[in-house]
Amino acid sequence: MTEETIVNIGPSHPSTHGVCRIVVTLDGEVVVKAEPIIGHLHRGIEKMAENRTYLQVVPLTDRLDYVGSMYANWAYCRAVERLAGIRVPERAEYIRVIVCELQRIASHMMGIGSTGADTGAFTAFMYAFAQRDHVVELFEALCGSRLTYNYVRPGGVSMDLPDGWVEQVRSFVAQHPAAMMELDTLLFGNVIARARLKGVGVLPADTAVAWGTSGPTARGSGVNWDLRRDDPYSVYPRFDFEVPLGENGDCYDRARIRLWECVESCKIIDQALDQLEPGPVKAEGLPRLLAPRPGDAYDHIESARGSLGVYLVSDGSPRPYRMKVRSPAFCNLSVLPLLAEGHTLSDLVVIIGSLDPVFGEVDR
């Protein structure tokens, strides 16, 4: 036992994937204790929402999970719709599913890519990011913005699909699984990446459940829980898809099932495009100013990081009385001290990457 050293990582450090500070107690190179200090991006979105109308909150939700803005839009809109009793037209539901599955691909590309970067395989990051850029461009054609979409609105989506968009999505989806296979060989077949990822940061299944983790972080440990299938919302019951599961709960499994989820997302998009019928994309007769009756509602969806929920309290006025975002990244990150213990400092970097936190959502 050597003398313990305390090393401070962050809040601006390339390996923390955002603005997280980690105070690490080291014994030599081995982590004795890692304590994340979060809140460097706490922007007070929940407070801001209390002074905006229901529609004006939608752009704020974009800024929560900025790698997957569509999810926060959708989760928020679902809570509003539940509160105000709005029925969403079928076409809008399909469009939401399509954009959110595309968003899952875009978000996972970032997650897998940064795993690559963390393990020294920067080329994989470039390959993954090329795929992400395709999706981002599709979104730009759809709603005019590359990152902050503001597309899913209470009662539907902001506008219908542009001409030729469906064909573009089809051609993207057609090439994506092959690109994923390539990425799989490139990154997960690589002996160095395997050595860096396998057996590192093992999260047992019961711990994963007890600590409230969700999404790929929990599924990597074999927790068979996906809201799309287990608490079905929207039109998800109409699609046929698998939920990839990991076995060991190490970084390798967590990172790799993201890749298979992308392939499954392609299947869902394909089916959704087949079933897409013309029709309205916004609920009829929505008032300009939504003022739901007093009460509270919660709704959650399966985002790229896990179950993303929005809890809304209304007091009958046109502004939310309270908005709470249950963010999956926040819960996922809370297991970091458990995972890091006993690994080396360089493994800590990989472990953070495998949890794929987005600090806009962690800190809100």
């Binding site: 809040p11 601006s12 450090h13 390339p14 955002g18 603005v19 809140g39 460097h40 991006l41 706490h42 922007r43 007070g44 979105i45 407070k47 801001m48 209390e50 002074n51 905006r52 752009p59 704020l60 974009d62 800024r63 900025y66 790698v67 970032m110 990051f125 470039m126 990011f129 090329a130 850029d133 981002v136 590359r146 990152l147 902050t148 600090f359 806009g360």
Partner: protein
């Protein structure tokens, strides 16, 4: 960059062609402008566009601007994203660690003015120019990667007018504006006109 443009003509004029005469400023500005290494101070959504800018699609490196995570290697700090009160001391500290001459680009509305987080929030700093001297502002939420490239090119123009002589330089900024510059104060007193 005038120096490079005139290079051929200058060589012609000098006897033997191997020597040119130019001002030291011109050489320094030329060399500085060609390799503005970036300190990517990406905190929020804009950081995604910052990453996208330096990747294969937009290929930022061809401008000589390589993102380096270490402040001691960098010439220009790109503040991309919301700066909160908890984060500001760290940003200031990283800025202080950068060697002179140094420049700051404020990327995105948050870094420019607080942007969407201007009103109603208790934890966001309304613009990074409250504590850093900003050279180039890029509007947008988020700005496109092309805008960042444009900003670097503009910065290069600005760098080319700098002088290394003491007292003449804009680049050697040892004094920072006190927090809450007059421009800000006036804007707030007028009731706030930007969102």
């Amino acid at each position: 960059m005038a120096f490079v443009d005139d290079l051929g003509a200058a060589l012609d004029k000098t006897p033997g062609g191997g020597i040119i005469l130019t001002s030291l400023d011109a050489v320094m500005d030329w060399s500085r402008g060609k390799s503005l290494w970036m300190m990517p101070m990406g905190t929020a959504c804009c950081a995604m566009e910052l990453i996208a800018a330096s990747f294969s699609r937009f290929d930022f490196d061809r401008h000589g601007s390589i993102p380096r995570p270490d402040p001691r290697h960098c010439d220009v700090m790109v503040v991309a994203g919301t700066i909160t009160r908890k984060m500001a001391p760290a940003v200031k500290r990283l800025y202080d660690q950068m060697p002179d001459p140094k420049w700051v680009i404020a990327m995105g509305n948050c870094a420019v003015s607080g942007g969407i987080f201007y009103y109603d929030t208790y934890s966001v700093i309304r613009g990074v120019d409250e504590f850093l001297p900003v050279d180039v502002y890029i509007a947008g939420c988020p700005p496109r990667p092309e805008s960042l490239q444009d900003a670097i090119l503009r910065l290069r123009e600005q760098v080319s007018t700098d002088s290394i002589a003491p007292g003449k330089s804009r680049a050697l900024k040892s004094e920072l504006p006190s927090s809450g510059s007059p421009r800000k104060g006036e804007r707030d007193a007028a009731g706030g006109d930007v969102g």
